[in-house]
């Protein structure tokens, strides 16, 4: 295995140029280095002007999503040596406006997140003095997977629908809506269903499952979408075939 590797890193500096260009950097490639270590090496030792986001370096803060050789990845959880002998292309996530270099604008997701009401909705809140809501391990398992989302945006970057139609609420937001819908403590499913069905993007989803494939946390947003569709089909049937039962 060679001990060096070349990174082709996308550069976009709106004040200087309107086009994206690529800079090549030759880096050491010890086996424990992840793509993020390479970028930090560039920033500290070679070119201080490179911009990207990162923080935890342990795959949990969700900051460091980017394309590595065209695939959406967490830069801190992707070994450089897996791409030896290189070169490796590093670009900002697809389907988002780019602010600078590898940094994308994600305000759109943040507003969608608020829209799906990602909090416990209840008719009557239990007072603290009555203790916890009981929830068995089985009930926890119902929604647990959907609660693991780190908002890393890899699924949006992989989603063909979102690429065509940015109004589509998108995989992670739907998974998070389901995370609350399926929580035994929550009573807000009906409100959230309404929000999800405002836009028909969800029906365009063809279950290619690209979102689930790229998700680093096994959230399975495609599964969440699938469940949503089944649920709303049932509601639809109820509404037409059994108008009374639906009310």
């Amino acid at each position: 295995m060679s001990d060096h590797i070349t990174l082709h890193v996308a550069r976009y500096r709106p004040e200087k140029a309107s086009e994206t260009t690529f800079d090549a950097f030759e880096l050491p490639c010890p086996k424990e280095w992840v793509v993020l270590d390479g970028l930090n090496h560039i920033k500290d030792r070679m070119d201080g002007t490179l911009s990207y986001r990162w923080s935890c370096r342990m795959g949990i803060c969700g900051s460091c999503g980017m394309l590595v050789n065209g695939e959406p990845k967490l830069a801190c959880a992707t070994f450089l040596s897996d791409y030896a002998p290189g070169p490796v292309r590093v670009e900002p996530l697809r389907n988002f406006p780019v602010i600078r270099d590898l940094v994308v604008e994600m305000g759109d997701f943040m507003s969608k997140l608020t829209r799906i009401k990602p909090w416990i909705v209840r008719q009557v809140e239990k007072p603290l003095s009555d203790g916890e809501y009981r929830q068995t391990p089985g009930e926890l398992d119902e929604y647990k997977q959907f609660s693991m989302c780190i908002n890393c945006m890899l699924c949006y970057s992989a989603c063909p629908i979102y690429g065509l139609d940015p109004h589509f609420i998108g995989p992670a937001a739907i998974a998070l809506a389901q995370r609350y819908n399926l929580d035994s403590r929550d009573e807000g499913a009906a409100e959230r269903m309404q929000i999800l069905s405002e836009h028909d993007g969800i029906w365009g989803c063809t279950f290619v499952g690209e979102c689930t494939k790229v998700c680093p946390k096994h959230v399975d947003p495609a599964g969440a979408i699938q469940r949503y569709k089944l649920q709303s089909a049932v509601e639809w049937v109820k509404a037409f075939v059994l108008p009374r039962a639906a009310q």
């Binding site: 911009s51 923080s55 803060c61 900051s63 959880a77 990602p118 416990i120 009930e139 647990k144």
Partner: protein, 599 residues
């Protein structure tokens, strides 16, 4: 002038978000801003793994949690604060349950608790081994329902606005655009977390650069107990990724290169097959990290390219338990170390983890500077004393975040509006951040100064310290402060300029490093995480006191002392491995794997 907000929160981690919700609930009329240099759900609270302590079991009591915290902190914690903390922690954790936190459960649906280091009863609530992640996302998502909370995501605070002896807001820089604004307010609550990045090898994320400590210090607030830096005994070499203490509370062993459970040689009890609370692997972190250094001296550690290591052995726990209760540990080992803990030993070494010290506050989060509050790891109330117990920090964020929020809500009701000097302060700061920093073409690389700072701090203020090395280090830090005036910043762009941010963070860290080293030099005793080889004993006569560092006009630090508040637990010896004999039957725990089917 009318301020833009009633309260500005600096920081959107666990403490900041809890404070924001407390304010929003205090009154719908309060205008609240949360300013955070990263999107709130990226804050470092997200990486906490193990759990959050709060008494709920029938066989547990508030007094026992108090005692564990006090003795764990080597009697430096303020006992009035600890009593309030212990009393309110269960309520706060329960509130989070009502907000949707996916706590792990017993078979009957009650919240499950696990044992944790230094705690004599099982009282640590957990959400598998991603407790901080779930707490932070629950808090953040819940905060979204309060429309009076305005967020400044990816805005970096560079300065506190101080006039007339009061804090009246902050100056902040928007990363995306480079815009610089004064965000005025009647009060500011600083919740910026810790400063692990002052050290070379740390579990802390890149953003933990002590900004709030330096901001408060520069504004005139004292920093307390800065010499107390916690090493966690089990970090992965190279990355510093933390292997949570939960791995030991579930029954993991620490062994040296000979396969020997070496903790038995350091007054931590005798090895048992099952974990026993407050003994061996479940001793407190300072003792475990110190034991590692002794093993190193004896040549019983194993060398790796990333320094000497010992091993954490989980193999006997079996795949099923590891998957169920420690899935993230397995994931981290496999993904970042290429090791499967089901079959292999995990190499570990002590790693800088947590800052006991911080901005001096009272029991309500108020600093001596009017209008300035602090909560979370950035603050020092102090409940952690000379050594924090694992799983006390997450509940601390909640208890004192909520307290600071409520106290600030009361304060702003009677506070004056900001004065007019704000405009001038903004102009000065704009000049510094733009004319100076963007045009700076000096000789020194940020990364070089950062590295030199980290090495000197580790060398002098690591697990063991001596007067001579601390004096050397203090001089070195003065030199680095000078050299840092001559930065080279290559990036002159206003758009998402992370190099300018790195320069600002480094200058914050240099101030924090000086405070740590100076306080460590002045404390001529050994207590908790502060171990002086030239003063190996605890000295209650002189140092049963908090150190307070105050910045002087010339930039140097002055250290004073403040007595510790003792209520019901007079200073005594810290005993681990076995409880004092009269209490023995009461305190020695049963086999510690909880029976519940929690995840």
């Amino acid at each position: 002038m009318t301020p833009a907000f009633d309260v500005v929160l600096v920081g959107g981690g666990g403490a900041g978000l809890r404070a924001a919700i407390a304010l929003a609930e205090a009154s719908q009329r309060l205008r609240i801003a949360v300013v955070s240099k990263v999107y709130p759900m990226r804050s470092h609270t997200v990486s906490a793994e193990g759990g959050a302590a709060g008494v709920i079991s029938p066989d547990d009591s508030l007094d026992e949690h108090c005692y564990d915290t006090i003795s764990g902190g080597d009697w430096l914690g303020d006992q009035d604060a600890i009593e309030a903390f212990v009393r309110e922690a269960p309520q706060e954790l329960l509130r989070l349950e009502h907000w949707g936190c996916p706590w792990s459960r017993e078979a009957d649906g009650r919240v499950a608790v696990r044992p944790f280091g230094g705690m004599r009863k099982m009282r640590t609530w957990f959400a598998a081994d991603k407790t901080g992640f779930h707490m932070l996302h629950t808090l953040f998502q819940t905060s979204l329902k309060y429309t009076t909370v305005v967020r400044y995501d990816e805005w970096f605070v560079t300065k506190f606005l101080v006039d007339d002896g009061r804090v009246q807001g902050v100056i902040a820089l928007e990363l995306a655009t480079g815009r610089i604004e004064a965000i005025t307010a009647r009060a500011v609550i600083v919740c910026t977390g810790g400063c692990g990045k002052v050290f070379p090898f740390t579990t802390n994320a890149a953003i933990k650069t002590g900004d709030g400590m330096a901001l408060a210090y520069r504004a005139g607030a004292p920093l307390k107990d800065m010499e107390f830096v916690q090493y966690h005994p089990t970090g992965l070499p190279f990355t510093g990724i933390l292997i949570t203490e939960a791995a030991r509370s579930e029954g993991g062993y620490l062994i040296n290169k000979d396969g020997y459970r070496y903790l038995q040689d350091y007054a931590l009890g005798t090895p048992q097959p099952k974990p026993v609370l407050r003994t061996m692997e479940l001793g407190p972190r300072d003792r475990l990290s110190q034991a590692f250094m002794k093993e190193l001296d004896k040549g019983r550690t194993t060398d790796t390219p990333y320094g000497p290591v010992v091993f954490l052995d989980l193999r006997h726990l079996g795949e099923q338990l590891i998957n169920r209760r420690l899935p993230f540990v397995r994931e981290l080992c496999m993904k970042y170390q290429n090791i499967d803990p089901v079959k292999e030993l995990i190499p570990v070494r002590p790693v800088v983890h947590y800052m006991m010290g911080g901005v001096h506050t009272d029991i309500n989060g108020a600093t001596p500077l009017p209008g300035l509050y602090a909560a979370g790891e950035v603050a020092c109330v102090s409940i952690n004393g000379a050594n924090r117990l694992g799983s006390n920090s997450l509940p601390e964020l909640l208890v004192f975040g909520a307290r600071a929020g409520r106290a600030a809500a009361d304060y702003v009701a009677g506070a004056k509006d900001p004065g007019t000097t704000v405009v001038a302060q903004l102009q000065d700061e704009q000049r510094r951040l733009e004319a100076d920093l963007l045009q700076q073409r000096g000789r020194e690389r940020i990364a070089d100064i950062r590295q030199e700072m980290q090495l000197t701090v580790e060398e002098s203020a690591g697990i063991y310290r001596t007067g001579a090395s601390l004096i050397r280090s203090a001089a070195k830090l003065r030199e680095l402060q000078e050299r840092a005036r001559d930065f080279r910043i290559e990036d002159d762009s206003r758009t998402f300029n992370t190099e300018r941010i790195a320069a600002l963070e480094l200058s914050f860290m240099l101030d924090v490093a000086e405070a740590i080293v100076t306080s460590a030099l002045r404390r001529e005793e050994s207590r908790g995480a502060h171990q002086r080889t030239d003063f190996p004993l605890r000295d209650d006569q002189r140092y049963l006191a908090h150190s307070l560092v105050q910045r002087q006009p010339d930039g140097s630090c002055r250290v004073d002392y403040l007595p510790v508040t003792i209520t019901r637990w007079p200073p005594a010896e810290r005993v681990y491995g076995e409880a004092p004999s009269d209490e023995r039957s009461h305190y020695v725990a049963r086999g510690a794997i909880p029976s519940g089917e929690g995840v």
